[in-house]
């Protein structure tokens, strides 16, 4: 039985902000189905008693002093921006205006 449908791929691509053509969608239905079926082997294990491993190290609450340090100069922070006005990053319009 197939776990993944074309609709699933389209839904996840929407969440991930990716646009796929029809051939890519069909390929991904097959590939994700194969990979997720492989991952289902984990269901053979009873893990009801196991605490999930959230971190690689036993470090908790790493604090530092609340002191002002150096930060990146504005020109350096903006230097890689595809579009900026010297103070801000510029992007296309975010809010749609209502038609008059």
């Amino acid at each position: 039985m197939s776990k993944i449908t074309l609709q699933d791929v389209e839904y996840v691509a929407g969440l991930a902000q990716l646009e796929l053509d029809q051939a890519a969608k069909e390929r991904l239905v097959h590939e994700m189905d194969e990979i997720l079926a492989y991952m289902d082997k984990l269901n053979a294990l009873d893990t009801s008693w196991v605490e999930p491993m959230m971190h690689a190290l036993d470090l908790t609450n790493v604090f530092r002093g609340d002191e002002v340090g150096d930060s990146l100069p504005r020109e350096a922070a903006l230097a890689n921006a595809p579009l900026h006005d010297g103070e801000y990053f510029l992007v296309p319009k975010i809010l749609e205006t209502e038609e008059p």
Partner: protein, 492 residues
């Protein structure tokens, strides 16, 4: 006489400090080698000739003044494209970062500079370190110096190929599921993944933040120890770097493994392991046994679940980390968008390659509402079981020894099925999941002339033990790995 480009970093440093050779002449030797070899290997994405010579002049001036030029003085290094450098570009092998100039240096890069290492340039990788063959680079195809028809492994394939072809004294890569150890094994060099937290990840472009570590690829184990001395240590810029003292790793290279217990996990020696690889690894274990190590069988019962756990956790973390490449602050932007949503979507869809998109989609799926418990939470629980397997095994042994990779280097295009490619990481992944240190050291050459790697895994923060074992093996393995011919087998 051996050309300078064939020497190790520690030999080079010793000669530079003694005044036997100038750092400038060492760099010239490597630049000549790159001109000669890189047309065949294609490891380098950028060569920094002028700045390398300027750095060499500084080292030579320090030597002239009688100052200490540093523990890696005059040793030329190549850097994986995933490491942020103010110099040149930092592309991660991706179209989306084409032309990106980092405003700062990674801590690892800064530490190498402080140690006197000389940056020759940057080397190729699978896009965002996602892959096991370097075929997923958007820049170029890097070839295995032992057979130009084969992949160098990945994702640090450019690093491994540049070391194997003597195009650098050593290289710095990153390892999320085997991306240092596997290419090191496939190219016949030494590769170390330190314990998670040993090396600052500041300036390492993130793939899977709970798994990523920076580490060296070198020509011998002593170089790995010397480079780790320079790289390791807590960094205020990385809250996950460990607040632990860093030993002098070269002191661990005693050549003596008497009294050490080596665990052979029976789950690493199944039918998945190719017969030639098994034979090379078993011979290597015999060498260590003859040197006085005790060999015991251990069990890591959840080994078979590692790849599934890894590709849930790594893709989940990647889907979150890569969301930042939206065309706003840096990197590629789709220019003709009429609204912000279209800009995001077209930027990512045109900027990310096929494997990266596949992993973002998988990661998004396993984190999405309704599947989080079934996949992501389940994987975190099985990750705990894998860690527990190692904790229990280390009650019976001091290190775990086995193969690095189930097969030697494979031909381009041989693993076109994504799952098949993922399974080539079967022996390396568990060290990342359990946050252990691991080293791959060359243990012979197959009938077809391709290197095999011996993997040694240790308890967390016991790099010294794995280096000691790897070094003892290297000293006593009884053969020379030789140098790759930089030829394709078809032409031999």
């Amino acid at each position: 006489m051996t050309p300078w480009y064939q020497k190790t970093a520690w030999e080079t440093r010793r000669a530079v400090v003694a005044g036997d050779i100038t750092a400038a002449a060492v760099v010239e030797s490597y630049l000549g080698r790159i001109r000669e070899a890189d047309g065949k290997v294609d490891a380098y994405t950028q060569v920094w000739q002028d700045s390398a010579l300027a750095q060499a002049a500084e080292v030579d001036a320090a030597v002239q003044r009688g100052d200490d030029p540093g523990p890696l003085a005059g040793a030329p290094v190549s850097l994986k494209e995933v490491l942020c450098t103010q110099q040149g570009h930092t592309t991660c092998g991706s179209r989306i970062l084409n032309g990106f100039r980092s405003p700062y240096d990674a801590t690892a890069v800064q530490r190498l500079a402080n140690a006197g290492a000389i940056f020759l340039g940057k080397v190729n990788m699978d896009e965002f370190a996602m892959g096991s063959s370097t075929e997923n680079s958007s820049i170029k195809r890097t070839r295995n110096p032992w057979n130009l028809d084969c992949v160098p492994g990945g994702s640090s394939g450019g690093s491994a190929a540049s070391v194997a072809a003597d195009e650098c004294a050593f290289s710095i890569g990153s390892d999320t599921g085997g991306s240092i150890r596997q290419p090191a094994a496939l190219c016949g060099c030494v590769g170390v993944k330190p314990t998670y937290g040993r090396v600052s990840r500041y300036g390492l472009v993130a793939f899977a933040s709970s798994l990523d570590q920076i580490g060296p690829l070198t020509k011998d184990v002593r170089d790995a120890a010397v480079v780790l001395n320079a790289l390791c240590g807590q960094d205020p810029h990385d809250a996950t770097s460990a607040p632990l003292p860093v030993p002098d790793f070269t002191k661990a290279l005693t050549g003596d493994v008497r009294g050490l217990r080596l665990g052979l996990p029976r789950e690493f020696f199944t039918e998945d392991l190719g017969p030639e690889m098994r034979q090379r690894v078993e011979l290597a274990v015999d060498v260590l046994r003859a040197q006085g190590a005790e060999v015991v069988e251990v069990s890591l019962p959840h080994t078979g679940y590692g790849v599934a756990v890894y590709y849930i956790i790594a893709t989940a973390e990647a889907s979150a980390n890569l969301a930042r490449f939206d065309g706003v602050r840096y990197g590629y932007r789709y220019k003709d968008a009429r609204n912000i949503r279209e800009m995001y979507v077209r930027t990512k869809s045109e900027g990310f390659g096929q494997e990266v998109q596949r992993r973002i989609l998988l990661g998004t799926y396993v984190l999405s509402s309704g599947y989080y418990d079934a996949y992501y939470l389940k994987a975190q629980k099985v990750r705990a079981l894998i860690k527990r397997d190692f904790d229990q095994a280390f009650e019976h042994c001091d290190a775990i020894v086995g193969p690095t990779s189930p097969t030697p280097a494979f031909a381009f295009g041989a693993k076109s099925d994504p799952l098949e490619m993922y399974l080539s990481d079967i022996y390396t992944i568990s060290a990342n999941l359990a946050a252990l240190p691991g080293v791959s050291v060359p243990c012979g050459v197959t009938e077809a002339g391709l290197p095999a790697g011996l993997q040694i895994l240790g308890r967390p923060f016991e790099e010294e033990t794995v280096l000691r074992i790897a070094h003892c093996y290297e000293q006593h393995r009884g053969f020379d790995m030789g140098k790759p011919a930089l030829k394709s087998h078809a032409r031999q």
